[in-house]
């Protein structure tokens, strides 16, 4: 492996690990805020127990998300110093804004939320969790705006004296057509991730015959949210596909391994071939006629550019070189993402039907599948990012800067190997402990309802929380 490959591996490993917890935290923050709002509005005690039960998962997820996020912000400079110098004038601004506007908000208010039970008024305490939820979403917007600029650079000019891209219009960067679609796609994906987690954990409780009111209410909240979120994620994904065809045609073509430009192109569901840059021919190719044209151009016979034609036009534009990503990776990640999302949708719909029939607690096969389903959004989130990042190769900034010209020249292989081993070790311990802690909470299940108030107590006890040390320290 070259230092470039090692640096890319390190970025991939740390980012994918970080991204297990990011969508989970965004989605859970909103879900917990929703539970707490319901409690505040209705005064029903079950919503308080829901807030606290799901709050535990939010806190475990956020803890790991936050600490691994520090690495994310620093590794651009560590492993990608040439990239940082080239794009810093543009890319740094949304990152700094993310820290100032979003990180402070979520970090300060999560502390206020955890330790503010009973100390802040219920209304103010409710505001704190919404601040956390809003903070996570603002954070997503800025980082996606930064990433979208790498996919589709706008509002810049290249300074040929200093050899770097310079910001000309910050509003163009923040309202890039790419981010306007990537943001809802990611946010609804995050809601779907959290909803799937909630449904899966509830299914586990039902399988253990522990369906209390927390489980029933959580299912009733999460199933519709999850269904709508998956559908919206898919819809925005569809529009992203159309936009991708105009902005990064090679990525679309390589998602499909479409070698030659075609009208009315079909969508391949399953094909086998070698995982090389040019697998030659595909065998066992199962296709839906016209589906790719619909996906990429929103018309039955729309023209989809092929890899060979795009490669040739890229060579005329940027000089000789290989402008094709690794087709085995783009093809399969694209399919796994869509496949996982489709399975999620089917699971959600099945759950919906069982719930309407009031037979969720008897649907054993659904319960088992829903538990496994917790991993589907993680798979979809991962493959989605792998697709969009590896589908952009050989560029790190599309059309402007190649990945091979972006890494730090002074960082030796040994250094990257050492730190990569370090990250894998630390992150490995984190995932084992985090997973174990979550599993403990799942096994333990939500708190049972409190006993009815003793005689003589006329009004209901104020909803001051139990001394729940798992929430605070």
């Amino acid at each position: 492996m070259t230092t470039l490959d090692l640096a890319r591996t390190q970025f991939g490993v740390t980012t994918l690990f970080h991204f297990i917890f990011v969508p989970m935290s965004i989605g859970l923050a909103v879900f917990v805020a929703l539970c707490q709002t319901l409690h505040y509005r209705t005064g029903r005690e079950v919503y308080l127990r829901m807030t606290r039960f799901w709050g535990k998962f939010l806190l475990i997820s956020m803890a790991i998300g936050v600490v691994t996020g520090i690495v994310q912000e620093f590794q651009f400079g560590m492993n990608w110093s040439l990239y940082s110098k080239y794009v810093g004038d543009i890319f740094g601004a949304p990152l700094a804004m993310e820290a100032l506007i979003a990180f402070f908000l979520e970090s300060t208010f999560i502390g206020l939320w955890i330790f503010g039970w009973g100390r802040l008024s219920p209304k103010l305490h409710l505001v704190t969790i919404w601040c956390v939820a809003i903070g996570t979403m603002i954070s997503a917007y800025f980082i996606l705006a930064a990433n979208s600029w790498m996919q589709h650079p706008v509002g810049y000019a290249v300074n040929h004296v200093s050899h770097r891209a310079e910001l000309k219009d910050i509003f163009a960067v923040l309202t890039n057509s790419t981010v306007l679609l990537a943001f809802p796609h990611t946010i609804f994906g995050a809601f779907a991730t959290a909803a799937m987690l909630v449904v899966g954990i509830c299914a586990f409780q039902l399988l253990r015959k522990r369906g209390g009111d927390v489980v029933a209410r959580s299912m009733r909240l999460a199933l519709p949210i999850g269904t709508v979120a998956v559908i919206l994620t898919m819809i925005f994904g569809h529009f992203q596909g159309i936009l991708m065809e105009t902005q990064q045609p090679m990525k679309m073509a390589s998602a499909e391994v479409l070698y030659n430009t075609k009208n009315g192109a079909s969508f391949s569901i399953f094909a086998t071939g070698s995982f090389t840059r040019f697998p030659g021919h595909l065998s066992a190719d199962l296709r839906i006629p016209h589906a790719l044209s619909i996906l990429a151009t929103a018309s039955w016979n729309g023209k989809v550019d092929g890899i060979r034609q795009i490669q040739a036009s890229e060579v005329t534009k940027h000089g000789p070189g290989n402008y094709t990503p690794i087709l085995g990776v783009t093809y399969w990640t694209f399919r796994l993402m869509i496949g996982a999302a489709t399975l999620m949708l089917l699971l959600m719909l099945a759950g919906f039907v069982f719930q309407r029939r009031k037979s969720l607690d008897r649907a054993r096969w659904f319960q088992r599948l829903a538990i496994v389903g917790i991993f589907l959004p993680i798979l979809a989130n991962w493959t989605g990012w792998i697709f969009t990042e590896m589908g952009r190769q050989p560029w790190v900034v599309y059309g402007l800067l190649k990945t091979s010209a972006a890494n730090s020249p002074n960082v030796a292989s040994g250094d990257i190997i050492a730190t990569l081993a370090g990250y894998i070790l630390i992150y490995g311990v984190l995932i084992v402990i985090g997973g174990w802690l979550m599993f403990r909470e799942i096994k333990h299940g939500p708190e049972p309802p409190p006993p009815p108030p003793a005689e003589g107590v006329l009004e209901e006890l104020p909803l001051a929380p139990n001394p729940d040390l798992v929430l605070s320290y």
Binding site: V71, G77, G88, G92, G118
Partner: protein
Amino acid sequence: MHTDPDFLQTLWFVLIGVLWVGYFTLEGFDFGVGMLVRGLGRDKAERRALIHTIGPVWDGNEVWLLTAGGATFAAFPSWYATTFSGFYLALFLVLAALIVRGVSFEFWGKVASERWRTTWEWAMCISSGAAALLFGVAWANFVAGVPMGPDHVIHASLFDLLHPYALLGGLVTLTLFLTHGANFLRLRTKGELADRATTVAHRVAPVAAALMVGFLIWTASDQSWDAVVVVLSILAAVAVVLVPTVLERNPTQAFGGTTAAIALLFVALLAALFPNAVPSSTNHLFDLQLSAASSTSYTLTVMTVVAVIFVPIVLAYTAWAYWVFRHRLGRDDFDGPMTPIAVMEHKLGTPGAPSAGSGAKPPTVV
């Protein structure tokens, strides 16, 4: 080749300096408390009280570092790229320490076993100490300069960064943050815990003061007795030397003293750095200057507007968070069936608030 930074570049150097000073004055006491968890807390209840003093705020404090990093990336991309790639392994160690520290707080309370908690308490101590030491080593190197050619690419191994000046810098931040943490605990704890914190501050403060005076003299002489650096160093030294003298009387003054000492120490270091971003120890002709490292004035203007709008908002809610969690905590708040929430309710006199043991199940963890 060498040009003075213009107004916006100077402004952003100052703002990044403010972020670093904010980070060290706030997270400095977090580090100190983290280091003292095992030494100062004699039992579970006391250690819980100690962790609770920083529990609500440490995460927000760490964002000052992230914002300093992000602001450096945005305002001075070459500074960010050169430093972060050049201090590669050192920075990895910092990151590892911060990761372990962050999860040690969050995981500590999740399981009620003695062994689990002891493990994370030690993780807290060691990672807090390591981070406090490493930041001093790093900043000493930032100021002293690193081997760097005209291409502004640092070629230094981890061991090149561990020279005596840098190690002294590390000891300065280690002892200073320890004192700062102890002073913070004198404000936020009561009873025996506060007494023990006072003793620690007593013992460590003179050491910190001596180390810091030595370090600042060394810095000033390296900077050929540059007037600004000298003045700031003297002020910082005065602040830190004052600390032991006010120790007896007033914890607020003592905490103010260490806060001022930390702030002035880093202002002195930043003044020594200016107008460079990364000085070269190879040859001063190869220094990376702020004017050469900076973003365009358009980007700096955009960032200035964002900072003008959002910094006051951030400061306001940060201050509010500190106000909410201002109560002194002690052993008795965490001992027995009483819980911190019950204590707060008791303190605030919330009528009708149930005591912890009533009604629902008793606490599983104390």
